[in-house]
């Protein structure tokens, strides 16, 4: 068992989880909404890749992005707009319901067995091989795309007008509106970005493992949610780090632990969640002296 290999793979998976985390954290930031249904955006993009497998790869990817963005926009417009002033726990129940309803849609449309989206399986080939260590193109893509999107999102937030408005809205929604920041626009942009990120996640995941099932996006979203809670939901940086950490650790322990212990990994992870919520609710990456998490 090669440590370097394991490390590289873990960083790759961590990047993917980080992308999910950013999508979740952006929406939580501007709306205080925990979007359980984010995973369905990933699944939608995944199934789009399935359906579009005959198209040239760039077109299929573009289509997946469009589908995810449209679905995200619809979710906000139809279901979540009215939840703006609701308690975060209520929003959790509502997004939970929307997630299950959408999952049922995939079940009806595509069946439970899963379909294959193998357009990008070429990426599963080794790119660099040195002794025991094999770095696949997929892993490079994960790191590359992850880094690119993370950088892009950061640039958007820090250097553009709409990004500034989003940061202000996340800090103090009402004060932002008093300055003329359009609530609807800021929230829509957050959802659109989360759609783009979801599509990217779907592309990367299917490259590694082409089977798309109705619960394709749900599983990674639940873990990413755990990650952002543990890392710190209130800020984008700590949330992203939390997401990365969980993906990283998941991969690491998945490879490192002996079989009989590995099956209990979820229990360990969720036990950590409970402990963090009790002991340090602002998140383990939050700087010392962060305010009490009244959000939670």
């Amino acid at each position: 068992m090669n440590w370097l290999q394991t490390l590289v793979d873990a960083i790759g998976l961590g990047s993917v989880y980080a992308l999910v985390a950013i999508g979740l954290a952006l929406i939580f930031g501007v709306m205080r909404l925990v979007n359980f249904a984010h995973g369905e955006l990933i699944t939608a993009a995944g199934y789009t890749l399935v359906v579009a497998h005959a198209l040239p790869v760039p077109f299929a990817i573009a289509l997946a992005v469009i589908v995810a963005v449209v679905l995200a926009w619809l979710m906000e417009r139809v279901a979540f707009r009215r939840l703006r002033d609701a308690q975060p726990a209520t929003t959790l129940v509502a997004t939970f319901a929307v997630a299950f309803a959408l999952e049922a849609v995939w079940l009806i449309a595509f069946g439970a067995r899963g379909e294959s989206a193998d357009l990008l399986s070429n990426l599963n080939k080794p790119a660099i091989q040195s002794g025991d260590v094999t770095i696949r193109w997929v892993t490079i893509a994960m790191l590359g795309v992850g880094g690119l999107l993370l950088g892009g999102t950061t640039l958007l937030l820090n250097r553009t007008r709409i990004g500034l408005q989003m940061r202000a809205a996340a800090a103090d929604f009402r004060a932002a509106r008093l300055l003329g920041v359009r609530a609807d626009r800021v929230i829509s942009v957050a959802f659109v970005i989360s759609g783009v990120l979801a599509a990217a996640v779907a592309v990367l995941l299917t490259a590694q493992q082409p089977l798309v099932t109705p619960t394709f996006g749900l599983e990674i979203t639940i873990l990413a949610l755990v990650g952002i809670v543990v890392g710190g939901m209130d800020r984008l940086t700590t949330a992203t780090m939390g997401g990365f950490a969980i993906g990283f650790l998941n991969s690491l322990f998945g490879n490192v632990l002996p079989d009989d212990l590995r099956v209990y990994l979820p229990s360990a992870v969720f036990l950590v969640v409970i402990i963090v919520l009790l002991v340090r609710p602002v998140g383990i990456f939050a700087p010392r002296g962060s305010g009490a998490a009244e959000r939670l």
Binding site: V34, A79, R82, L83, A86, Q87, P88, A89, T90, L92, V93, A94, F96, A97, V98, A99, F100, A101, L102, E103, A104, V105, W106, L107, I108, G111, A112, R174, P214, L225, V226, V229, V263, Y264, P266, S267, F270, L271, V273, I274, L277, L278, P281, A293, R295, L296
Partner: protein
């Protein structure tokens, strides 16, 4: 102060509904009777959820964990100890060598549910809102994970079968009635009333000395007991159990039942449980291609989840207090509102400006 008549009605109305369902169940065919039994077991589960969620105002995604514990413990312990060691070779000896009657297994299920809920509750009752939702979800995941893989206490990932099917219509009706009665007694107990008061305004309640965490723990443990009991009823109804049957999907459906009926009242829990259960039953029938009365649709698989999910989302977003408005049945209130316009009620202190 509510009148004695209204108070009695708070138990009678849900109880009556349960009994009516039970009676209707005697008039239908054998297979439909099983479905009615299932509805009654679901009602018991939803009542268990309500005991905690409704009274505390804290959303918990974890109560099904206690249903699972109840179901598996009742199931494992009622398999005859002649065949148990062969069926489940990894079990701890004291589990493999003993077995109990169905009734005793229900008591065991309730006790274990209460115990685990109590232990988890000690840690979790401090949490509010979103944190509580996530933490209770974590409890569900942990219990599911352990039950799925720890073959010393149960079947693990395999299905547990050959469990005596002793929950018939009569037992389910009694079980649901029992849960309703306990829920009623609890919400009128001192602890229950204090908890409900704190639901509206936790800081205010704390400031007058109410120990919210303690009362939440009481509700959580009681909810765990009832959930465990319902799990026992469930496993004796189906005759088998797998971990997936008491995991996310059941969590979703029972939460939907409570939300649709009305989170804050016993009546809401029972109404929601009945309505959504029957909807579930009949939609599943349509999915399977069976005829339902005059309807001859053949719905695709998954339609049930879609309909229930959509209904649940709609209610949470459009009418968060549920179909019953989270209120108990109260003719007194109805009559009063007919006679004169209700005076404005200040439910909550007005928000602080800016």
């Amino acid at each position: 102060m509510i009148q004695a008549r209204d108070k009695a009605l708070q138990l009678l109305a849900p109880a009556l509904l349960i009994v009516v369902i039970g009676l209707l169940g005697t008039t239908v065919s054998e297979s439909t009777r099983t479905e009615f039994t299932g509805v009654l077991v679901n009602i018991a589960i939803v009542i268990a959820l309500y005991v905690f969620i409704g009274n505390s105002g804290v959303i918990s995604f974890g109560q099904i964990a206690f249903v699972a514990i109840g179901a598996f413990s009742a199931g494992v312990m009622t398999i005859s100890s002649d065949i148990k060691p062969t069926l489940l070779p990894e079990l701890f000896p004291f589990i493999a060598e003993h077995s109990v009657s169905s009734f005793e297994s229900l008591l065991l299920a309730a006790a274990l549910g209460a115990l685990v809920a109590f232990v988890a509750g000690i840690a979790l009752m401090r949490l509010n809102g979103l944190a509580a939702g996530i933490a209770t979800f974590a409890v569900l995941e942990i219990v599911h994970n352990i039950l799925r893989f720890w073959e010393k206490i149960g079947p693990g990932a395999k299905s547990l079968a050959l469990i005596p099917e002793t929950t018939g219509l009569w037992e389910a009706t009694l079980g649901a009635l029992f849960c309703a009665a306990i829920a009623f007694l609890y919400q009128h107990s001192r602890s229950g009333r204090l908890l409900r008061a704190s639901r509206e305004d936790a800081p205010a309640a704390r400031s007058i000395g109410v120990n919210i965490h303690l009362h939440r723990l009481v509700a959580f443990s009681l909810s765990g007991a009832l959930a465990g009991l319902a799990g026992g009823l469930l496993v004796h109804q189906i005759g088998s159990i797998t971990t997936e049957q008491v995991y996310l999907q059941l969590t979703f459906i029972t939460l939907a039942m409570l939300v649709v009926g009305g989170i804050g009242s016993l009546w809401g829990a029972v109404v929601g449980g009945a309505l959504v259960s029957f909807l579930n039953v009949y939609l599943l029938k349509l999915e399977a291609g069976d005829a339902v009365g005059p309807l001859h649709l053949d719905l695709p698989n998954g339609s049930t989840l879609l309909v229930i999910g959509a209904v649940m989302a709609a209610i949470v977003i459009l009418r968060p207090s549920g179909l019953t408005g989270s209120r108990e049945v109260s003719p007194g209130r109805w009559l009063a509102s007919r006679r004169r316009a209700a005076p404005p009620v200040a439910d909550a202190p007005p928000p602080k400006a800016s």
